[in-house]
Structures are given as C-alpha cells and as structure tokens.
Amino acid sequence: MTAYAYFPGCSAHGTAKEYDRSTQSVCAKLGIELEEIPDWVCCGASPAHAVNHLLSLALVAKNLDLSPSDTIVTGCAACYNRFKTAIHALQHDRPLWEQVKQIVQPTKLNGRDFRVFHLLEVIHEFGLEGVKERVTKPLKGLKVACYYGCLLVRPPKVMAFDDPDNPKKMDELIAAVGAEPVEWEFKTECCGAFHAVPHPEIVLRLTSNILRAAKDAGADVVSVACPMCQINLDLRQLDIQKRHKVTFNMPVLYFTQLLGLALGISEGELGFDRLIIDPRPILREKGLV
C-alpha cells in the first residue's frame, strides 16, 4: 500500500495529542502507512478564510507543495474542510490559481492531482471486514453517539463525504469494533466552533443541545472526528454545569481511541487520561478496561 501524506494540523501537536497518538497507533495496527508532511504549515482554519481569501488558499497550496504524496490524509475536520475547499476553488478558477502561485512560488505543484481524505474515510476505505478481523477486544455493550460535526459534510458539493444530514461512516466503523452506535439526530449539528472565544454562551447552548440529544438517545459516550468538536463537547461540560445546572458527565472520545481500544492498543498510548470527562469509569463498568 502506498503511504498517505499525513497532515496532523496544529491541534494534533497541542490539545489533541491523544488524537495524533491514537491515529498513529491505529494506522500502524491496520498497516496504513502515514508519512507526515515535512515542515507543514497552518491550514488556515478558521481565521484565514474569514480575513483574507487569498491567504487561506495560499496556506493550503503551500502544504500541497510540501506534500510527499498526492494522497493526503488528515484527522482534523477543519483542516480537511480547508484543503478540500481550497482545492475546489483553485480547480474551478484558473486566474485565482495563477495568483496563488505568485504568492506561494511552488516548486513541486505542477501537474499533480491531489486527493484529500479524512482519516474516517481512509479507515472506512481500508475495510470494515479488515478492521473487524483485527479486533481483539470487542466493545460489547458500549453505546456510542457518533458525532461528525458540520465541517466534515458541508458544503456537500465540495466535501462529498457522505450523506450530509445522516452520515454513516463512523457509525459503521464503531459497529465493526463491536460497539453499538445509537440512532440520533444531532450527528452534524454545529458545536459552535471558534465562537467559544468571543461568544462562549452560544457554544454552551449548542453543545448542551448536542450532549442532551446524545444522552436522550441512550449513549454512554460520544465519538468524534475533530479536535475542535472534541474540545467544545468535552471541555465545556463543566461550564454547562455551572451555567445551565445540568450535568451530563458524558465522555467525548476520538473515534481512533475507541478503535484503538478494540484493536488492543494500550490505555496509556490512547491517552484516555488527557480527556476532561474521564471515560474510564464507564469503560470499566462495561468491562472494557
């Protein structure tokens, strides 16, 4: 199998270290080769495209120029969205492309046909059967609300990820490792993203709605595929408790952490201890750790 160029994104080196580590170890287990893009730069999410359109395209173009492979994978929904949106814009607007080239001065870009995937797609593409075969500890009895967020699926014409309103790829992976994905309707609701900084009350309301829907659907944990979503859903629960006087105590894990657990990767490597709402009590209750 050819190696994927891996774009970790800034979160993976900071707040989402456990996502990065679980990604690397799950991919290693499955034999999916990742080669980190050397000297990668910020993808531009979220401020760049709101401030300067050209800058947001140039940042992506710069990363593409650095990429060792035409096939790129990232675990961050925001990075994924930036890459796909920029490539779409540049492919459909030649003069814009020339302008961006002026800025980036690329050396290895010409004639390359880039394809960008989210980690979910790559593992899904690897095959549900293949994942199932490698499971050593099925996550039996664990009810999981799979949360995709908005950036993975929208705008559907550009992202072409899955059904934009009822995506299934994470649910299928979670089911493949023996857990039970719950039917719920907030899979692609907005978590509020960067509003957490200027308008935290909006984020508290939105995340509270999402967590409530997950709880109502009977979920034990929420599974995510984006560091931004993870922070908003996990970290804000204490604020929600203070502000709205509701306690969810709902662990929010990266889907790679759940896959890793089922594939027999050690707890320490998966970094459960880095989460705010500790998932270990519920996992212990289910006999999974």
């Binding site: 059904d163 309103d165 009822n166 309707e185 907030f186 829907a213 109502d216």
Partner: protein
C-alpha cells in the same frame, strides 16, 4: 416560359429604413423571368394583397415572390391571396428580407445587396415550383383518452357529449385519480368527492364512453385520424359482467393488513379490494402479490363467498386493439418521494407526511374517519407544521420549477385543520405565497387573518425528534430569528412530478417531453393543448403542475380540439412531404432508418399476374412531416421533398454563387 411577379414590402420603416426597396425592385425587374416588380408600404394590408391579386390576373403570372417578413408570419396570407385568383398557393414564396436582413444589419448598401440576392434566389426556386394539392387524410371519429383523473373524465365527457365515441383507459382499478383522494377543494372548501363522483358515474353510464379500468396503453401505431392502439386489460380475477359489487368477497378476505395505495399507506386494505367506496366501476380486483391463493394456494374464500360466482382465478390479461382518430393524454402527476430530504428525516419519521397523506387524514372516508390523528401513535394532533416548496424551486434537487398548487393546498390544509382542531395551532413555512387565481389571495388572507394560521417566511433546516415531538427548526426571515417549533405532525408540500411511465408512452407516440418528464405542448402560448404530433392532445397535470380549475379548462380545450377535428370528414395536411421515385428505388430502406416519424413503409410492386417484382419505400402522407431526413439518406436520390426538391435547392444555390 416563367412569368414571375416580385412584390417588395417596406413593412413601414422596418425594411425600408435599412434596405433601399426601390433599388431592389429595379434590380429584380431586370432579372430573367420576372415580368412584374413593385414595392409597397404594407404588402400584407388589404390594398397590398389587392396589388398581388390584380397583377396575377393582368400579367398572367405563373409564380409570385413576396419579399417581406418571415414566412412564419405571412406565408398563409399571401398564399391565400394567390389562391383567390386561381394561382396554386404553392407557386407563391416569401423572401425574408426583414428578420434575415433589415433587422439584423445596419449598413444600408450591403443590406440592399443582400436583399436583392435573397429575392433573386427565391425567384429561381419559384421558377421550378410545381402546383401541389393539400393531402386529405380520412378521420376515424373515435377518441382515446388516456388517464381517468379529472382531466381524462372531463375530456371524455365533453367528446362523448359531442356525439362521438370515446375509449377511456385508466391503469388503476377505479377512475377518479388524485381528485378522489382529496378531502376538500380550494378556495371554496367544497367536498372533492361530492363534486367528482357524479362525473365518475356519468362516465360509467354514458352510452358513448367505453371505460377500460385496470388497463394500460401498450402500443400506438398510425397517424392523425388513423391511430391503432393496443390496450392491455389486466386480469382483475373478477368477472365484470357478473359482479354486482356487493362486497361480500372483501368482507371475507383474510389478508387485511395491506397498505392501501389510495390512503397512501395510512390505511389498510384487503387482497381483493376496491380502492375506495365510491370507486367506478364498483368491481373489486385481486392483488396477486398479496392474495393468499396466488402466493401459496388454498384460501379462495372470496370465491366461496361470492353469491354470483364472479371470482375467476384463471382470468388472463387481454390485449385489445382499437382504432381511433385522436388521442387525449391526461396521465396526471405524482408527488416526489418525501424521503429525498434527509434533513426532514429522510422517511424515518412516521409523523412527517406529504400533502396527499394529509388529505386522507382530513377525509371523512379516510383511515381516521376525518380525525387528525398522528400516524405513529394515533394521538390527536394539536400542533402541525406545514412546509412548502419541498423539492419545488430547489435546483439542488433538480426541480427548478414551481409546483403551482402547493401554496393553495397548504392554506386549505391549515384552515381545515383549524376547523377540526379548534384549540390546535397550525404553522406554515413558506418562501413566498403564490396565490394567483380567482379567489385565491382572499383564501390565503382568510387563513392568516380569520383562522389564525401562523405564516413564517423562511426555510426549515432540520426536523428532529425530542420527547415524543417533532422539533421543527427553521428561520423566520422577517424577524431574522431562528425558530424551533415542537409539532405533533409535519406536512411536506412535496414537488409535483410527471407520473410514472409517461415517458415510455410519450416515446411510443413520438410526443416530446421536457427535461422533467412533463409532456410538451406544441406552442407554450398559442397551442397549449396540442402536441407536435398531429391528433395527440394534452389535458391536465401531465403537461405541467395544475390545479383543478385549470385542468378542467384544459381538458375541455383538448376535447374541443378533438371535436373540431371530428367535425371534418378528412383532415388537410401540407403537401410538402417526401415522395419516392418507385422506378429507381432499390428498396435498401436507408430512408426508413433515417425517418424520425416512422412514416416510411414497405410497398410491394407486382406485375399483372401478381408476381412480386420488388419492394420499394412508400411515404405515408399522414405521418410524413416533410423534414427531409430521408432525402439525404437515400443513396441514389430516389426520395425527394415536394416543394423543396433538390432541383429547387440547387437553383437557389446557383443563384447565390452566380451573383
């Protein structure tokens, strides 16, 4: 020797401003064969036509060229003028020096030169024109109406009342169509069935109407005035001659849980069934797919129960052949499936229904006897949200058009809901309210002002379930606020589409369909009930989404077209069609492959003893549209087009190249 007259029109300033008409006249006067050339301010006016008529007589003209506007505009005018003084109308041609010249050029000198050439080459053509006689095609004075909804019923009744026989074909077990499913009709709120069923009965009893239900048109051959239609009469497994419609069989049938198509899945029916109590004919059919006998043998309880011995499990489909002169297509519409919007649940929520389902909930004869109850748990609905434009005007779903009737039926639904549930609340999400029709705007105002229906201008982005309610999240763009409404029931005004199978039927007839599967009319303004195929007419929503008044009006329009056709013993058609030279034709039938109108037939040439000499192509004058495709396909020039013969075309071309 040719004696051609040339008549140049100024068209007021339209031509004369850019073309020097006097120069054109003088140039043409010198052209060989032209014995008369004049110009006039308005050639189409009465004195202008007089000018032509007098010249024909006085100068003994053998051909006429009128240099004026497009032949689309005035060819019939000038040909009629010629015919009035005894000159065969096909010896008159028009040179288009307006649309093709003065209107599109500004250089006067060059435009004048071009005008001279345009007239010149038509003079060369007219020199070679031959007198032609219109083709007369006999008419079978019998009509076929396809589709037994209100459009088909109205068209059939009008034609039958005009004294001609009608065959009405309906693929469902009963006529009535969607109108029979409706509870009340806008804007008067009269009961749909009460105004429809008398007409259904009239169809059944009319001596001139042959009603074929549970039947489909299998094939159509022939041409205007002379169609031959094959109709498949599907096996009902009930002898129509014997059955009295007592319903004993239906009572006895053990298969009682089959979703009723008529109730759009909200009600149940048996395997032997009539779709609804007022069905016409009131004769049951057995649904093979669900019948216990057809599935695994045994049962036959209906047969034992029937006092008339009408059940016949051995009945077979029948193929009937009928000759008709005209066809009215009234195949109606369907709704798009409501599950195409995954943000509205994608079909996962039982309490998200479409407009026709809501009609069934409102209907006194519906599955809830007219009570507005939730399909999921049978609880009374206290709050209902209507969403308009679900699919319609949504290019992302491939439906850019407006479905036309939804604004009105949504208002009707909301009003009827308020009449049934006094303490209930109805909300309507709309893009804009299109209430163009007699009494329509007043009706919508009534919903808003008198009935207290809450209209919210904006789209719904999501529907989800919470605590047994459907939460409808949308935006009210007038207040600029997002809104969330907890509802017991959501009704989607899903887009109207052409009904299934219509494209296949249209292909058999050669009738064009538009990109959405609706049948195309011959002209969007001036020929709205005719199709491009002579003798085939349109009625109702098969052409475009339409409400009942418009449908009935169009149906009567189609019927009147049929009646005026039947008032003649023969139909006149343009004689400018293809003709085969049987001497040189070798019977390769390349022309047949080229013909888009299936007008080329095989003709056997025999000697006096009846021995076959050869087979040649024959052009059916009833079908040929004079497109000329066959003349190009023919390898040895044995097919030529009357009025546009190769000789004439070459004469035109040489006139251009010579100049």
């Amino acid at each position: 020797m040719a004696r051609i007259g040339v008549f140049i029109c100024h068209c007021g300033e339209n031509i004369a401003r850019t073309v020097d008409v006097a120069k054109v006249r003088d140039a043409l006067a010198k052209h060989p064969g032209v014995v008369h050339a004049v110009d006039y301010r308005y050639m189409c006016s009465a004195p202008g036509q007089e000018l032509i008529r007098n010249a024909i007589v006085e100068k003994k003209l053998t051909g006429v060229v009128v240099a004026a506007c497009s032949p689309h505009m005035h060819e019939p005018t000038f040909r009629k003028a010629c015919a009035a003084v005894g000159l065969n109308p096909y010896l008159c041609e028009m040179a288009n020096i307006r649309e093709h010249c003065s209107w599109v050029h500004s250089d006067r000198e060059k435009a004048t030169e071009k005008a001279i050439e345009l007239v010149r080459f038509l003079v060369e053509k007219v020199k070679r024109n031959r007198p032609l006689e219109p083709i007369r095609v006999p008419v079978t004075k019998r009509a076929l109406v396809v589709g037994g909804g209100i459009a088909g019923i109205q068209a059939a009744l009008d034609i039958a009342n005009g004294g001609y026989e009608v065959i009405l074909v309906e693929r469902q077990p009963s006529i009535g169509g969607h109108m029979a499913q409706l509870s009340e009709t806008f804007p008067t709120l009269d009961c749909s069935q009460c105004i429809l069923t008398p007409k259904m009965v009239e169809v059944r009893q009319h001596p001139n109407i042959k009603l074929l239900t549970y039947s489909e048109v299998e094939d159509v051959k022939g041409y205007v005035g002379n169609f031959e239609v094959t109709i498949r009469k599907k096996a009902r497994y009930v002898n129509e001659e014997v059955c009295t419609g007592c319903g004993a069989c239906i009572q006895r049938c053990p298969q009682k849980r089959i979703p009723s198509e008529f109730d759009r899945g909200l009600g149940r029916r048996t395997a032997i069934y009539i779709p609804f109590p007022q069905a016409v004919p009131n004769i049951p059919v057995i649904d093979r797919e669900h019948c216990a006998y057809f599935r695994r043998g045994g049962c036959r309880l209906c047969e034992k129960e029937c006092p008339r011995g009408a059940i016949d499990f051995n009945q077979q489909d029948q193929l009937l052949t009928e000759k008709v002169g005209a066809i009215v297509l009234a195949t109606g519409y369907d709704l798009i499936p409501s599950d195409i919007y995954s943000e509205y649940g994608g079909g996962r929520y039982r309490d998200v229904i479409d407009g026709l389902q809501f009609e069934r909930l409102l209907s006194a004869s519906g599955p809830t006897n007219g009570e507005v109850l939730r399909p999921s748990d049978g609880k009374e609905v206290k709050s209902v949200v209507f969403i308009s434009c679900v699919g319609s005007r949504d290019r992302a779903k491939g439906i850019p058009y407006c479905s036309k009737i939804c604004c009105m039926y949504v208002a009707k639904h909301a009003i009827l809901f308020k009449h049934k549930v006094h303490d209930g609340q109805a909300f309507v999400f709309y893009m804009d309210v299109r209430a163009a029709g007699k009494g329509y705007e007043e009706f919508v105002r009534r919903a808003v002002e008198e009935e207290g229906v809450v209209y919210l201008r904006g789209r719904v982005s999501k529907i989800y379930q919470q605590d047994g309610k459907l939460i409808v999240r949308g935006v009210d763009t007038l207040s600029g606020m997002p809104v969330e409404i907890p509802a017991d029931l959501v009704v989607l005004a899903t887009a109207i589409r052409a009904s299934d199978g219509i494209v296949e039927l249209a292909q058999k007839l050669g009738v064009p369909v538009d990109e959405h599967g609706f049948l195309s009319e011959a002209h969007p303004k001036l020929r709205p009930v005719e199709t491009q195929v002579a003798g085939v007419f349109l009625a109702g929503a098969c052409q475009a989404p339409k409400d009942i008044p418009d449908t009935v009006a169009q149906a009567s329009g189609a019927a009147s077209k049929v009646l005026s056709m039947f008032a003649q013993d023969a139909i006149e058609r343009e004689p400018t069609i293809a003709k085969v030279n049987e001497q040189t034709c070798v019977g390769c039938f390349e022309c047949q492959r080229a013909c888009p109108y299936r007008a080329i037939e095989r003709k056997e040439i025999r000697d006096r003893q009846g021995n076959l000499i050869k087979v040649v192509a024959y052009v059916n004058p009833g079908l040929c549209a004079g497109c000329g495709a066959c003349t190009v396909a023919c390898r040895n020039h044995s097919v030529d087009l009357e009025g546009f013969a190769e000789e004439q075309m070459f004469a035109e071309l040489s006139a251009i190249t010579a100049a």
